[in-house]
């Protein structure tokens, strides 16, 4: 079978049932279908925001940062404190980004720099860090639930065709994810540092050989990746509250998104996020009992066909 024919066969195999289901669902209850579709898109945006940092760090430094969820949670808590004290939600977002970026920078410079090449050890260290950070945050912030207070023009609902009332905030998250996604992509594709990062992903040795300060590039990348997690923490915390345990939840989500989409690829993260976000929402709406398992089944199936993820590349 030629490559093209195989592609068509795969599209039919997976697209077919989806199309059939969509036709049935639209006929049955159109507002529910489109609402779920929008919900899935917006959830996907949130997942994309969280997973983009994860995949960036892995892509360049081969570091599976399992403390990514802790960075998410830390950004959320710090952002909340700043938001409470200044009354500005946008400042909270900025604070979330910065605090996580700083912690990420410290982690890279003081810990991971000395473990170049020892991927397994790095991963184990991130596991240990995530356990320690989670407990420290429980100690500092307690077990209560924290919610954010976004400005009124984001909060509330808007009226859209077909779906009627839809939360404005989720639309805002969708827009934010698109903006950040494009921004990240342009950063990687158009700026000099982005070029160095991409070169490093392909061949770290050559990058060092061409005189670039590799450690600086690593530090910047880790800081950006961690900052994205913190930003997602505030954004996600506004949509769905913050409490202990959110770190593992978003870590697992990032993990599945990145496995499905492909490690090291921002486009892959967006594709993975779309798949997982849509699957989760449609599952919750139409088959709630096993909706969560559904997410992981997708992951397993994706792996069976493409072990490196949909957009991943070998090596």
């Amino acid at each position: 079978m030629t490559e093209a024919r195989k592609r068509i066969a795969l599209w039919l195999l997976f697209g077919g049932p989806v199309a059939v289901f969509s036709v049935w669902a639209i006929a049955d209850n159109p507002p529910l279908y489109f609402k779920t579709l929008l919900n899935g898109l917006t959830l996907a945006s949130l997942y994309f925001l969280v997973a983009s940092g994860f995949t960036l760090v892995f892509g360049l430094m081969r570091n599976v940062n399992l403390a990514h969820g802790s960075l998410f949670l830390l950004g959320a808590y710090v952002g909340w404190v700043v938001g409470e004290n200044t009354g500005s939600w946008l400042l909270a977002v900025a604070a979330g980004f910065l605090s996580a970026a700083v912690l990420g920078l410290l982690m890279q410079v003081f810990i991971f720099r000395f473990m170049e090449g020892q991927d397994l050890r790095q991963t184990l260290v991130t596991i240990g860090l995530s356990i320690v950070l989670a407990d420290l945050m429980l100690w500092a912030f307690g077990g209560e639930i924290y919610t954010f207070d976004p400005p009124a023009w984001i909060y509330g609902s808007t009226v859209l065709p077909v779906v009627e009332k839809f939360p404005t905030y989720r639309i805002a998250v969708l827009l934010a994810a698109i903006v950040i996604g494009i921004g990240l992509w342009s950063f990687l594709a158009r700026t000099r540092i982005g070029m160095m990062i991409r070169a490093g992903v392909d061949d770290r040795g050559m990058l060092a050989a061409s005189g670039v300060n590799v450690q600086l590039v690593f530090a910047i990348t880790f800081a950006i990746g961690a900052g994205l997690a913190g930003l997602a923490g505030v954004v996600g915390g506004t949509a769905l509250s913050i409490s202990p345990g959110e770190d593992t939840r978003y870590l697992l989500a990032s993990l599945v998104v990145v496995i499905v989409g492909g490690m090291g690829s921002v486009v892959g993260a967006s594709i993975g996020a779309l798949l997982i976000g849509l699957a989760e929402q449609f599952g919750l709406a139409y088959a709630p009992t096993y909706s969560v398992v559904f997410t992981f089944v997708i992951m397993v199936v994706a792996l069976a066909f493409r072990p490196r993820g949909i957009m991943g590349r070998a090596g």
Partner: protein, 417 residues
């Protein structure tokens, strides 16, 4: 001089040793009581309040009961039954406690009850676990629960909902044992008196994004019945408001309790008026409750603004334990038979009503119907609107009818049309 110095030192040491030995003969007998709650896991914060409740009960008795000094051996679990049993076993077999108070959550309670059956010489008293099955299915003769359980907590709410005109409702609930009991308690009388629960949305435990569930809410219902706890409740309420929802809500016992009303962030006006039910409420207007709240506030500066459900439940169970000890003057001999007889007969006026147990060693108590109201200082609290006393595990139904219904599950009870 040196010899005198040595003599002095030896005398001092000898006197100290003698004093220590005599001191131990003087020291009162200490009775160790095990105390199990959660300091890790999803109930870490309520667990701390549970310990506070138990400490309060002990302090009321000045640390003594039955003529002996009481020492709590505190152990902690993380809401998994395995750890609850492991920590109970440690307290019983390693620390050698003779009475065990705990655990906190429903499934832990069932596991500890099963363990209790293997240790007939120890008496187990519940902490705050509220699963029906603990005492209804295969009960242990040495496991006592002075508090009422999840289904009992919702009795009376059905009538209240009908009185408010909510004839058709839609249920959104977490998908595990405790909510099943709560829903059964609500629906037992709600359905019998003509209410309809049009459909049930069972959401997996830990779901954060309720957007799709909210999308499924039908338009032609009068109210939502929401049985979610903790952060799930906060998420649902905020998301429902964001999605433009405006149906009134009826909440389960932990849907609009202290932990939820106290979340850090802006108070949402849409919460006001939500009806709920439980074994206690923040605003019971009796002198006993007011004293309980005042004592809690005085003793625990780092606690909640008002004692939570868990503080209350651990308090009444611990107080029952200690009062029974007083009644038998600390006699735990003969397989603790006299003590257990005393426990069966123990009854007192607790902060939230009469505390006593039935023949099955399960609590019979009062349920309070509440509504969320705004206090003068802007904070939210649960105002008592109705008191329903003397509720037993048969939920107000005749025993035969209750047995026919069986324990709550996803499809029991059911009244769609």
């Amino acid at each position: 001089m040196r010899a005198t110095k040595r003599l002095w030192i030896r005398t001092a040491v000898g006197a100290a040793a003698a004093a220590a030995l005599m001191g131990s003969a003087w020291a009162q007998e200490t009775l160790k009581i095990g105390l199990l709650a959660n300091l890790e896991g999803p109930f870490a914060v309520p667990g701390q309040d549970g310990y506070r409740g138990a400490d309060m009960a002990l302090k009321e008795k000045n640390g003594m009961a039955g003529g002996k000094k009481i020492e709590f051996v505190k152990v902690s679990s993380d809401a998994t039954p395995d750890k609850a049993v492991a920590m109970t076993r440690k307290a019983v077999e390693q620390d050698k406690v003779q009475i065990m108070i705990g655990p906190l959550s429903g499934d832990e309670g069932i596991a500890v009850k099963n363990y209790a059956k293997t240790k007939p010489e120890i008496t187990f008293i519940n902490g705050s676990s509220g699963a029906q099955a603990t005492t209804l299915t295969d009960p242990a003769p040495n496991f006592y629960r002075f508090n009422t359980e999840g289904a009992q907590w919702m009795v009376g709410l059905g009538e209240h909902a009908l009185a408010k005109g909510y004839k058709r409702t839609f249920l959104i609930s977490e998908d595990y044992g405790f909510p099943y009991s709560q829903v059964q308690g609500f629906m037992a009388s709600y359905c019998a008196k003509g209410g309809k629960v049009v459909d049930k949305a069972w959401v997996p435990l830990g779901t954060k994004d309720y957007a799709s569930v909210i999308a499924k809410i039908p338009k032609d219902i009068d109210a939502l019945v929401v049985v979610l706890g903790g952060s799930d409740a906060v998420n649902f309420l905020t998301q429902y408001e964001q999605a433009g929802g405006n149906k009134p809500m009826i909440g389960g016992s932990i849907t609009v309790d202290q932990t939820v009303l106290n979340y850090k962030g802006k108070r949402r006006e849409s919460l006001l008026g939500t009806a709920s039910a439980g074994p206690m409420a923040d605003s019971i207007d009796t002198p006993e409750w007011k004293k309980f709240v005042a004592d809690y506030k005085a003793q625990f500066k780092d606690g909640f603004p008002s004692p939570s459900l868990f503080a209350y439940l651990y308090y009444i169970n611990t107080r029952a334990t200690l009062e029974a000890l007083d009644a038998v003057k600390g006699d735990l001999s003969n397989g603790q038979k006299a003590y257990r007889d005393a426990l069966q007969k123990t009854s007192f006026k607790g902060p939230a009503g009469e505390v006593k147990i039935d023949a099955n060693r399960n609590g019979v108590g009062t349920t309070y119907i509440t509504e969320v109201t705004k206090a003068p200082d802007g904070s939210f609290y649960n105002k008592v609107v109705k008191t329903v006393p003397n509720i037993s595990q048969t939920l107000g139904l005749p025993e035969a009818e209750f047995k026919k219904m069986g324990l709550g599950s996803r499809d029991v009870p059911d009244c769609r049309k």
